[in-house]
């Protein structure tokens, strides 16, 4: 938690970046809403999905995906220059610290980039209100779970830098997959049927789509519980894989160090 707060304060010091971040987010939202509007043309609804639902989906997903974006080369850099060994001497778990720092950065971006940009957006577009006040806390839980899933996927690939010379390429490719398959560019509603079916067996659906659907009230009762359970299941599975890679990687490092 301390680390998260520290990172948060760190970010506050760059005022210009902060201002530009807001402008950037607001412009991106404006432009994509134009694109969706043009796609909709005169149609009120497509497949039962209205334009304002798509707009809401896009704005929430953009906010989250900005927040979920952090320096994924951190572990590789630490391994390359050898400073990772110092980390093991510290009395806190490296993975927990890494997670806390990333999460702190994410919280910063949500509060200071996304919320102001959201207010600007609300000046010129109508978005769907949350389906109920009770839905919001559930959605926040789901967002947190989604973040964990994404973080774990990224962490697994980062641990590969114990073996590979550079993971930059793989991380870039991974990010493309995530941004397309999680629906952050085109909502999963509009994907071809077969692709949707396949995606329901992957963790991608659980990252942004589940929280957004909860917000829009598309999930309720049993479906809602099921969606949350799926998220938890993915976290458990990815968590196991991540810890296996991490332990193997650390062991390899120690052996190499002699």
């Amino acid at each position: 938690m301390e680390f998260a707060i520290k990172k948060f304060q760190d970010k506050m010091t760059y005022r210009l970046d902060f201002f530009m971040g807001i402008v950037n987010t607001a412009i991106t939202i404006l432009v994509y809403l134009c694109i969706y509007k043009a796609l909709y043309g005169n149609a009120g609804e497509v497949d039962g999905i209205s334009y304002s639902m798509v707009a809401t989906h896009f704005v929430i997903t953009l906010g989250l995906s900005n927040a979920f974006h952090y320096n994924e080369m951190f572990l590789q850099d630490k391994i390359r220059d050898g400073s990772i060994t110092n980390e093991f001497l510290k009395p806190v778990s490296f993975t927990l610290r890494l997670f806390a720092e990333n999460a702190g950065e994410g919280a910063f971006k949500i509060i200071f980039h996304f919320l102001p940009a959201l207010l600007i957006t609300l000046l010129y577009t109508k978005l769907c209100p949350p389906v109920s006040i009770l839905g919001l806390p559930v959605m926040f839980c789901s967002v947190a779970l989604g973040y964990l899933i994404l973080w774990l996927i990224s962490f697994i690939i980062q641990t590969w830098s114990f073996w590979l010379f550079s993971v930059w390429g793989i991380i870039t490719i991974k990010n493309v997959f995530v941004s397309i398959l999680s629906g952050s560019l085109l909502p999963l509603w509009f994907m071809p049927e077969p692709l949707q079916k396949i995606l329901s067996f992957t963790p991608f659906e659980s990252i942004y789509f589940t929280p957004v659907r909860i917000y829009l009230g598309e999930l309720s009762g049993r479906e809602l519980l099921f969606a949350l359970a799926v998220q938890v299941l993915w976290i458990a599975l990815l968590g196991v894989i991540a810890s296996v890679f991490w332990k193997k990687g650390v062991k390899k490092l120690v052996v190499q160090g002699g």
């Binding site: 210009l16 970046d17 530009m20 402008v23 950037n24 412009i27 991106t28 404006l30 432009v31 134009c34 694109i35 509007k37 043009a38 796609l39 909709y40 043309g41 497509v46 497949d47 010379f165 550079s166 930059w168 390429g169 793989i170 870039t172 490719i173 990010n175 493309v176 941004s179 397309i180 560019l185 085109l186 509009f190 994907m191 071809p192």
Partner: protein
Amino acid sequence: MNELRIALQSLKMSVKTRMQYRADSLVAALAVFIRESANIIVIYLALLKFDSINGWNVNEMLFLFSLLFLTYALVVSLFADLRDFSRMIREGRFDWLLVRPRGLLFQLILNNADIIASVGHGTLGILLFLISAGKVGIRWDFATILYYVGAIVGGVLLQGGMFIFFSSLSFYFVETNSLREIFYWNMRKFAGYPISIYHKLIQGLIIYVVPFAFVNYFPAQYLLRKPDMAGFNEAYIYIAPFVGGIVYLAAYLFWRISVKRYYSTGN
């Protein structure tokens, strides 16, 4: 001719440097290719559902995108150093060039080529062109081919000019990256779509401030003649290939003025 020899030598060096780590470079080029394809895949999937975007169908959209990628592939192989110029100044590498017996811009343009980005963008651009060019109803005769080549050259000069302009700003401000992030990279993202779908304000930005519209939208309009051109001045599609040269010249003059400043503060 001496200049040309240096140019070729320099390009060879860039390629050789990258080939030191062959596998790594290939993965990186592939990563660039895939990253850039993301937008294409999304627009493709979206148009499976929605048919058209403001009257533009899938192939026409791909054609519009192809101009952006083809020109950028050439831009990064020529202007890579100017793209990363603010870092160059900060690390003091710019000072090396000052003592060499060749023009500064000449050196900057030749010094470094981002082969990886060039291959990634170029492959995608060629691929999109091959897929779409035959299906969008363009009659490829002498006039259209001449126009097309002119548009590509213009688009390269235009983006190169913008890099030179932003680089020149580095002589006045320490940090220019966020400015460029907003004006260059954002606009480039938006220019992939028919600009007629945007708010008037953004259209103004893309036509007059960061004139990406002349890189792909107006040239594509000359060849495709979509009805949404009605919202713009018809003359734009005829001047499109020449705008690049003008922007480049203006940027060059601005560079000349700005570089003088660096001499004076440097000493």
